[in-house]
């Protein structure tokens, strides 16, 4: 469970997030949608403290993690993140990409870490790519490796920032399928996405951000069929 309480984020002059409050329950899948620049990525990055909220608190399993004494690294072990542009380590093989962090961060033995990595690679459909370097992979394959890499830390929550936005259209499905499978396993997930059908299908709840504000929060059928706010209606008219 992760809870954001009155999160405000200011960059220099501009207020990018304004008092966002929401709770993501254990096993819940939440998608965040909204126009470009509305603060979706920033909000996501506040959840794992890649950005420090200017005001407000984040609670992970009822423990405040925005305290000054918090060890961010310990928190992040528990929160996996998948980026739009993958950010795989280009000088490491696929297997090393996935097995590196468990060894360095959790002190798992090399043998154990590689065994888990292989299982995860099978799970995302990349059994035969272990010894390949990332530059030999397609975008969809890269993103699936990135998902396996995050899962290797056995996080209790997964954050996805537009995981399919950098992909060629024909590769979107393979990545979304992996994420859907993950949703089935009961993983708690927060997903920023522009794929409306996917958002509708996979989400237990949709958050709509606009101009740094959490304008609307509803279960997907309600949100997509009867958005209550003007802003959400405008946005859906444009993208659907």
């Amino acid at each position: 469970m992760i809870k954001a309480n009155n999160i405000t984020k200011v960059f220099g002059e501009s207020t990018v997030l304004q008092q966002i409050t929401t709770t993501i329950k254990q096993g819940e899948v939440v998608t965040i949608i909204g126009p470009s620049g509305s603060g979706k990525s920033t909000f996501l990055r506040c959840l794992n403290l890649l950005e420090d909220p200017t005001e407000g608190q984040i609670f992970l399993h009822d423990q405040e993690i925005t305290l000054p004494k918090t060890n961010k690294l310990v928190i992040r072990k528990n929160i996996g993140m998948v980026f739009q542009h993958f950010h795989l380590f280009p000088h490491m093989t696929v297997l090393d990409n996935v097995s590196y962090a468990p060894q360095k961060v959790k002190g798992v033995s090399k043998q154990e870490a590689e065994k888990t990595a292989k299982q995860l690679l099978t799970k995302v459909g990349l059994t035969d790519k272990e010894d390949t370097y990332p530059n030999r992979l397609s975008g969809g394959q890269k993103q699936r490796v990135a998902i396996a890499r995050a899962l290797a830390m056995e996080p209790s929550i997964m954050l996805f920032d537009e995981p399919t936005s950098a992909l060629d259209p024909e590769m979107v499905k393979e990545v979304l399928d992996v994420i859907k499978d993950l949703a089935q396993t009961g993983m708690t997930m927060v997903i920023v996405t522009h794929e409306m059908n996917f958002a509708k299908e996979v989400a237990d709840r949709v958050l709509f951000l606009d101009n740094g504000r959490l304008v609307e929060e509803a279960e997907p059928t309600r949100f997509f069929e009867q958005p209550t706010s003007e802003r959400a209606r405008d946005f859906l008219d444009k993208v659907l």
Binding site: R76, K77, H87, A150
Partner: protein, 219 residues
């Protein structure tokens, strides 16, 4: 014009031994410059103002004064100050090592900054601490970026290395001078020394190109 190269023939082995002397101290210097330069570059990118200031001051001093002055200070002033009779080799290594550290730290700093910021974020998001992140993720990529620049630094250092002849270190240059005063003819030995430098630099440049091409292929 009367050039007579036959006279330097007996001295050729003596001059050629200078190649080893030159390459030995240049290699040790660049190794020292590389290690110290890496540490300095890490200081430059930290958020600790004091470390940053120290590293910048270091760079400014070593780049802002003549190398020959640094060499002289180490060779002549250190014994005066400490009573320790420093050898020509050690002075040369220290002067060139400390000096190249300043240049190399700038090269590495640039190499680190050229690594995609996403790499740091990915490592941080996985909870990887600073030290392994730098050692295993950022620096390997930075070093790959800077290999061509490092090769250039090595070549520059090899040419500049002739400066150590001024403190009596028996490198290629010094040996050519010794032969010159032996024969009362300077032109031939100096020309021969010039040829040796040119060949070394030519080989290093070719190796550099080869490495660069390899790197480009692997991208």
């Amino acid at each position: 014009m009367n050039l007579d190269f036959s006279q330097i023939v007996p001295y050729i082995p003596f001059i050629l031994e200078g190649i080893w002397a030159t390459l030995k101290f240049v290699s040790v210097s660049i190794l020292m410059g590389f290690i110290l330069g890496t540490l300095l570059s890490l200081c430059k990118i930290t958020k600790t103002p004091l470390l940053k200031w120290l590293a910048d001051a270091y760079t400014s001093i070593f780049r802002g004064t003549p190398l020959i002055l640094q060499l002289m200070i180490i060779y002549y002033a250190v014994p005066q100050l400490t009573g320790y009779d420093i050898s020509a080799f050690l002075s040369a290594v220290l002067a060139f090592g400390l000096n190249s550290a300043a240049y190399i730290s700038e090269i590495i700093r640039g190499g680190i900054l050229a690594v995609d910021k996403g790499q740091t974020e990915a490592a941080e998001a996985l909870g990887v601490p600073y030290k392994p992140m730098m050692l295993n993720i950022i620096l390997p990529q930075a070093f790959k970026n800077i290999l061509p620049a490092m090769m250039n630094e090595f070549i520059t250092l090899t040419k500049e290395s002739a400066l150590v002849s001024t403190i009596g270190y028996l490198d290629i240059m010094r040996r050519a001078q010794v032969v010159g005063s032996d024969l009362y003819r300077n032109f031939e030995p100096l020309l021969f020394a010039g040829l040796i430098y040119w060949v070394i630099v030519y080989i290093l440049t070719s190796v550099g190109r080869l490495v660069e091409r390899r790197l480009r292929q692997s991208d």
